[in-house]
Every structure is written in structure tokens, then in C-alpha cells.
């Protein structure tokens, strides 16, 4: 069992790629750089497939498969190993990360082809793969945190990839700082885990947390605090309220980065972490409620902003925030496998949406404003059709992957709380609206650009191939969960069941298994689908049938429109409440008073005192022997008299 025994190969491959390109690649041609970057991710993907093959043959009592390679930290009673583990959840994440990552690497070779920072881009991207694999393979919270911070670093580097653009560097900084807030919560959570359980190993912490009695609702015990602190970290990384502000700005990065890091993998790390810690969350009902409510509100909140955005990537960014909210809603109502399922399908269709958007931007020669597109359907058919598939998937069209995963979540939400379910359904309608709006504005209607200046062209094959593969996954990826509509098993949920064995889903899943044909119809024509249809209808009405309506509507609802297009002015609020006071304190107090006054004052003061003292003492050294003699005499007299006086 080579890969199971040598799990470290998986993260090592991309790290080698990153190191080779980053350190030695200075003089290499683009071809060599491409081969190094692609072969490392391809090998990682193949290794992941081989791992799956070996994992399937593993007897159930050996899962989770944990391998400790060396003691990483040993201090006092605390010990953390460099240990990796594989269970069903890890397998899903591994396949998503290496599979989608591999496709996006291929896509990037086309998209970034003419960029002067080609080599830098690929070494960052490989480095990201390394940290992401470390994150999902880690067998303890500390190693997971290393991966967690590493992907944050790569996210920062890649958002600010075009570092000559001020807005890109600002966006990178913003992402980094906002994530610091989340990571602070994560670290506190880790410390609390360490204090409570004495270790950070999943294998010890999670069973013990599961064995602890569930904390009564409305009372916050230690598990609740751990869960809430972990969720602060997750909210930072996965862009939930109130820490979501960095993700829309992160669109300053190259589009493949938006697809890989800010849609498919890194931003879902928070969901993965919550799912991984499900044993803690399940015994902390207060925290569960917080997760569900934050997730649900974020989903709705971001979807409403997405309604009026005009930048193709910004629409997708708010959509990502919204979909991540769905995943947290699922986790919050205890349907962890549904959350992970949506994570996976989302990786497919949102990754595809971003890549297709990149293809559109590529075709338009860098234009990102959907108001200046239109009528592209015939010019770039491959891009159109793949993006159409992804839109159908995210809008929850029956049969497409997004339908299954979103329905799972909404079903679980319905069982937990009707208001959450209603908000979720409303969000589904809004999702459908803004996605079809995007599609119609981009690909249908009249051309709103000057064809003399913009030479629209379909992207090269190495960009289209990943689109097609992802489109197939986006369409078909949901069928793993499909049979339960026909009263059969939900393969995905069954597959993950050992991981979430403590989750209360199992009885519910058993109840679901008896779903009959009528329930099937209800599910097919259920509220989310109807909401999606309504959304589609409005989008069609507004942007195909009578394109003047949106403007009229915006004029008649001027205040609402302004609120939405201003993104609820959250950035302005944060600027006024947090950023500007901090800048003011840093400038007027920390800089002028503390730095210039106290620190520089102390240093300069010491120097000044020495100099002044020296200045005064200089006069004692006259160079005149007789003066010295006189001083010696004075000293002798003084000491002698002192001696005599003390003796007497």
C-alpha cells in the first residue's frame, strides 16, 4: 500500500513543484515551467486516485487511517505529531482539491499565457495546493492550522498578484487582515481545546467531545465556546457575516485564482473544519444555532447584493458567499454530509462559472462589466454552453448537481426550523435570478460593445477542456445523492456516514429512505424549484423580454437600489467604525505619541543626557598638570577627612 503508507507524498508533490519553479525556475522557458507545475499537480491527482483505490480496500476498523511520521512539537505535557489521516471526508476533499486544482492548473496555462509573472503564478498556485492538501490531510488541529494559514498566505499572494495595481495590493491586504480576525478566534478555540482535552489530535478530541453530555440549549458551556471560537475562524476563511468583506475584493486576483481559491477550495476550508469538528458542534446547541442563523442570513444577504452587481466576477463572488452560507446552514442544522455535498457540487459549478467568466473576460480582451457585453452566445459557443450548464446547476434545476445538494440542505433546514427554510428558499429564488441575469446580460440581447475595438474570440483548447470536464461534473455530480428520491440510498450520505456517525442524521436518513413517488414529485416541484423558476422568469422578463424594466425599477425603488448596489455600505460602515478609528489611533497616538514620544524619546533622551554630561565634564580635562594635581590634593583631603571623621 504505497500511498497509504506514504501519505506525505500527496502534499509533497505540489511543494516540490512550487520549490522547483519558485527557486530554480528563473531562467526556465515557459514550457519547462508549465511542465513542472502541471506534472506536480497531475501526479498529486493520480496519487489521490491511487489513494482512493487503496482506501476502498481498507477494512472499516482501520478508518480513519492515521499515520504519524515524526514528533513535531514536544513541550512539557504537550505533544503534536506531524501526523496525517484519511477518512471518507478527507477522500472527498482530496478529490475535490486535487481534481479541480488540476483542471484549473491546465486552464491557467492558457489564461496566464501572456502574463510576465507566469512562473511566479504557478509556483504560488502549487504552493497553495501543498497547503490545502496539508489542511485536509492533517490529523490534528495544529497541523490543520498550518495548512489553514498557508492557504491564507497563498490567497494573499495571489489576490495581490498584479502588485503594480494599487487596488490589487489593497485587496490582498484586506483579505489578510480580515482573516487575521478569524484566525485569532481559531487560535483561541485551539487553546481552549488544548485546555479542555489536553491534546489537539482529532483521534482523541473528537470522541471525547462526542462522549461529553450535550450542553443544554441556551447555556454556553466549554464546548459551546470552543465551537463558537472555531466558527469565528471558519467565518473568516469562508467569508461569512460579518467577516465576508474580503472575498468580493479578492476578485482582484487572476480569474483562475478566483476559481480555485475563492470558490472551489480554500473558502470551503471553514465548512470542512466545522464538519471535521462536528462532534464538538453537535454537543453545543447554542453554537449550532449561531452557525445555522449566520449561514442562512449570509446566504440571503449576499444574494441580494449579487442582484445588482455589474462586474461579472463580483456577481460570482457574492454568489460564492451566498452558497457558502448554505453550507453553514446545513452544518448548523446538523446535516453535515449535505453541507459537504454542497461543498463538492459547488466546487464543480462555481469553479466552472469562474473559469467560464475568465473565458468571457479573455474573449472580451479584459472587459469585466456585464453591461458592456451582450450577444456573445454565438461568438463563444463553448464558453456559453458550459456556463449555461453551470448556471442551471447553481440555480437548482432538477437533475443538475446543485439541485440535489441544495435540496438536501433545504430539506434538513425544513426539519429544523421553518423560518430558516423560508429564507433558504427565498435565497434559492434570488440565486436563480442573479445567475440568469448574468447569463442573459452576457450572452443574449444586443451587443453593447464596439466590435471594432473588441475582437471577440473563443479561448484556446487548454482553457476549454477544463470547462467541458467541469461542466460534465456540474451536471452529473449530484447523482450520487439522487437515488434517495426513488426511495433508494443516498450514496453520498451513506459514504460519509462513518465520519458523522454521531450526527443525528442517521435516523432521519432512514426515514427518508421510505420516500415514495408522491414525495418525489413534491421534491421535484418543491418550493426551491418553484422559487428557482420564479427567479428565472423575472430574469427573463427583465433582461430579454423588456430590457427597460430594470432601469425603471431601479428608478422607482431608488433607495433600495442604492442600498444594494452600495453593498449595504458595509465597507463604509467598517471603514467608519473600525478602520478609520484604528488609523487615527495609529497615527495620532501610536505613531506621534508612543513611537515618536516614548520610544524615540527614550532612545534620544539617553543619547542627549550622555552628550550633555560629557559636555559639562569636558571642562575637567584641562590638560594642565597642576590643575590635576590640585584635584588630586582636594580628593586626598576629602577622603582623608572622611576617613578620620568616620574613624573618630
Amino acid at each position: 500500500m504505497p500511498v497509504l503508507a506514504y501519505l506525505w507524498i500527496l502534499p509533497l508533490l505540489p511543494l516540490l513543484g512550487a520549490a522547483a519553479n519558485g527557486i530554480f525556475g528563473r531562467g526556465w522557458t515557459k514550457g519547462v515551467v508549465t511542465r513542472v507545475a502541471l506534472s506536480s499537480t497531475t501526479l498529486a491527482f493520480l496519487a489521490a486516485l491511487e489513494l482512493v483505490r487503496e482506501f476502498v480496500a481498507l477494512p472499516p476498523d482501520q478508518i480513519p487511517w492515521t499515520k504519524s511520521y515524526f514528533t513535531w512539537i514536544s513541550a512539557g505535557g504537550f505533544r503534536a505529531d506531524f501526523a496525517l489521516q484519511v477518512d471518507q471526508l478527507t477522500i472527498i476533499m482530496l478529490l475535490v482539491v486535487t481534481g479541480v486544482g488540476w483542471l484549473i492548473h491546465i486552464y491557467s496555462t492558457g489564461y496566464m499565457h501572456d502574463d510576465p509573472g507566469y512562473r511566479r503564478f504557478f509556483s504560488y498556485l502549487n504552493l497553495f495546493m501543498f497547503f490545502m492538501l496539508l489542511l485536509v490531510l492533517a490529523a490534528n488541529y495544529l497541523l490543520m492550522f498550518v495548512g489553514w494559514e498557508g492557504v491564507g498566505l497563498c490567497s494573499y499572494l495571489l489576490i495581490g498578484f498584479f502588485f503594480l495595481k494599487q487596488s490589487a495590493t489593497n485587496a490582498g491586504n484586506k483579505a489578510f487582515w480580515v482573516n487575521r480576525i478569524g484566525d485569532f478566534g481559531f487560535i483561541l478555540g485551539l487553546l481552549l481545546i488544548l485546555r479542555t482535552f489536553g491534546t489537539l489530535d482529532f483521534a482523541t478530541v473528537l470522541p471525547r467531545a462526542a462522549a461529553m453530555p450535550a450542553e443544554p440549549a441556551g447555556q454556553a458551556g466549554v464546548l459551546t465556546w470552543i465551537a463558537l471560537l472555531l466558527f469565528v475562524g471558519a467565518a473568516g476563511k469562508s467569508a461569512q457575516l460579518p467577516l465576508y468583506v474580503w472575498l468580493p475584493d479578492a476578485m482582484e486576483g487572476p480569474t483562475p485564482v478566483s476559481a480555485l481559491i475563492h470558490a472551489a477550495t480554500m473558502v470551503t476550508a471553514g465548512v470542512y473544519m466545522v464538519a471535521r469538528s462536528h462532534a464538538i458542534f453537535l454537543n453545543a446547541p447554542v453554537a449550532m444555532q449561531v452557525v445555522a442563523v449566520i449561514g442562512c442570513v449570509t446566504a440571503l444577504f449576499a444574494a441580494t447584493i449579487g442582484l445588482v452587481q455589474t462586474d461579472i466576477k463580483k456577481v460570482l463572488a457574492y454568489s460564492t458567499v451566498s452558497q457558502l452560507g448554505y453550507m453553514f446552514l446545513a452544518c448548523g442544522v446538523g446535516a453535515f454530509s449535505a453541507g459537504v455535498f454542497h461543498l463538492m457540487t459547488h466546487a464543480f459549478f462555481k469553479g466552472l462559472l469562474f473559469l467560464a467568466a475568465g473565458s468571457v473576460i479573455h474573449a472580451m480582451g479584459g472587459e469585466q462589466d456585464i453591461r458592456k457585453m451582450g450577444g456573445l452566445r454565438k461568438k463563444i459557443p463553448w464558453t456559453f454552453w458550459t456556463m449555461f450548464m453551470a448556471t442551471l446547476a447553481i440555480a437548482g434545476t432538477p437533475g443538475f448537481s446543485g439541485f440535489f445538494s441544495k435540496d438536501e440542505i433545504l430539506l434538513a433546514a425544513q426539519r429544523a426550523s421553518t423560518p430558516l427554510w423560508a429564507l433558504g428558499v427565498l435565497t434559492a429564488g434570488l440565486t436563480s435570478f442573479y445567475m440568469f441575469r448574468l447569463l442573459f446580460l452576457t450572452f443574449f440581447g444586443a451587443q453593447r460593445f464596439d466590435e471594432k475595438h473588441v475582437h471577440v474570440h473563443e479561448s484556446p483548447r487548454n482553457m476549454l477542456a477544463p470547462l467541458v470536464v467541469l461542466a460534465i461534473l456540474a451536471v452529473g455530480g449530484g447523482w450520487m445523492a439522487a437515488p434517495h428520491l426513488w426511495g433508494g440510498a443516498n450514496f453520498f450520505e451513506e459514504y460519509l456516514a462513518p465520519v458523522f456517525a454521531t450526527a443525528p442524521e442517521t435516523p432521519a436518513a432512514a426515514a427518508e429512505a421510505s420516500v415514495g413517488a408522491i414525495e418525489l414529485l413534491q421534491a421535484l416541484l418543491g418550493a426551491p424549484v418553484i422559487a428557482g423558476l420564479i427567479g428565472f422568469f423575472f430574469a427573463w422578463w427583465f433582461y430579454i423580454r423588456s430590457p427597460k424594466t430594470p432601469k425603471k425599477l431601479a428608478a422607482s425603488l431608488a433607495a433600495t437600489y442604492k442600498l444594494l448596489s452600495g453593498k449595504y455600505f458595509v465597507d463604509e460602515l467598517y471603514a467608519a467604525v473600525i478602520v478609520r478609528p484604528l488609523v487615527w489611533i495609529s497615527d495620532k497616538v501610536l505613531w506621534r505619541v508612543v513611537d515618536e514620544g516614548v520610544i524615540e524619546g527614550t532612545v534620544n533622551g539617553v543619547a542627549h543626557v550622555s552628550r550633555e554630561t560629557g559636555d559639562r565634564l569636558r571642562y575637567a580635562s584641562t590638560g594642565n598638570i597642576r590643575t590635576y594635581a590640585a584635584w588630586i590634593l582636594v580628593g586626598a583631603v576629602v577622603f582623608t577627612s572622611l576617613l578620620l571623621w568616620m574613624a573618630g
Partner: protein, 100 residues
């Protein structure tokens, strides 16, 4: 027998004269002589105490002082000759190039 205090007073007076001369005289030779005067004032005190206490250490010290004084005189006079040759003066207030 002359009391010890007499010797000590004489020693103190000689030492005081030496100090005053050292401080107020400008001629190097005179300053040098005043150093010798101080040394011998101390020698006198040593001998007086040696006699009064009936111990020999004081007298041994005097020999040491005389030897050191002889060596010092040899080195000091050599320096004075060099200064006189180079500077053409024996006035210490003129010999202050370290100060400037």
C-alpha cells in the same frame, strides 16, 4: 627623646611645602624637586613611625621609596631634557599640546 609628633609635624610641613610648590610653580625642574620633597616628607614619617613603634617595616619602605625615587629621577630628568630640547622652554603651561 624628641617626641614622634614633632617628626610628624615636620613631615607634614615638608609635604605641604611640596604640594604648594607642585601646584604653584611653573618650572618643571622646581615641580620635580617638589615631588622629591613630598617623597622625603613621607620617608621622614615612615622612619618616625618605625622608630616609635619599634618595627622595621617602615624603614624597609623608605628604602623602596628611595629606589623608586631614584628611578623616577632618572626617567623624569630624561623627559625634562627632551622637552627642553624640543620646546625650548621649561614652563609647564607652555607644554600643553595634548589639550589642543
Amino acid at each position: 627623646m624628641v617626641p614622634t609628633s614633632y617628626y610628624l609635624v615636620l613631615s607634614a610641613v615638608l609635604f605641604g611645602l611640596g604640594v604648594v610648590a607642585f601646584i604653584f610653580k611653573r618650572n618643571i625642574i622646581t615641580i620635580f624637586m617638589s615631588i622629591e620633597l613630598m617623597l622625603n616628607a613621607v620617608n621622614l614619617a615612615f622612619v618616625a613611625f618605625s622608630r616609635a613603634l619599634g618595627q622595621l617595616q617602615g624603614q624597609v619602605f623608605v628604602f623602596f621609596v628611595i629606589v623608586v625615587a631614584a628611578a623616577e629621577a632618572a626617567v623624569g630628568l630624561a623627559i625634562i631634557i627632551v622637552i627642553a630640547r624640543n620646546r625650548g622652554t621649561l614652563n609647564v603651561e607652555r607644554v600643553d599640546s595634548l589639550k589642543h
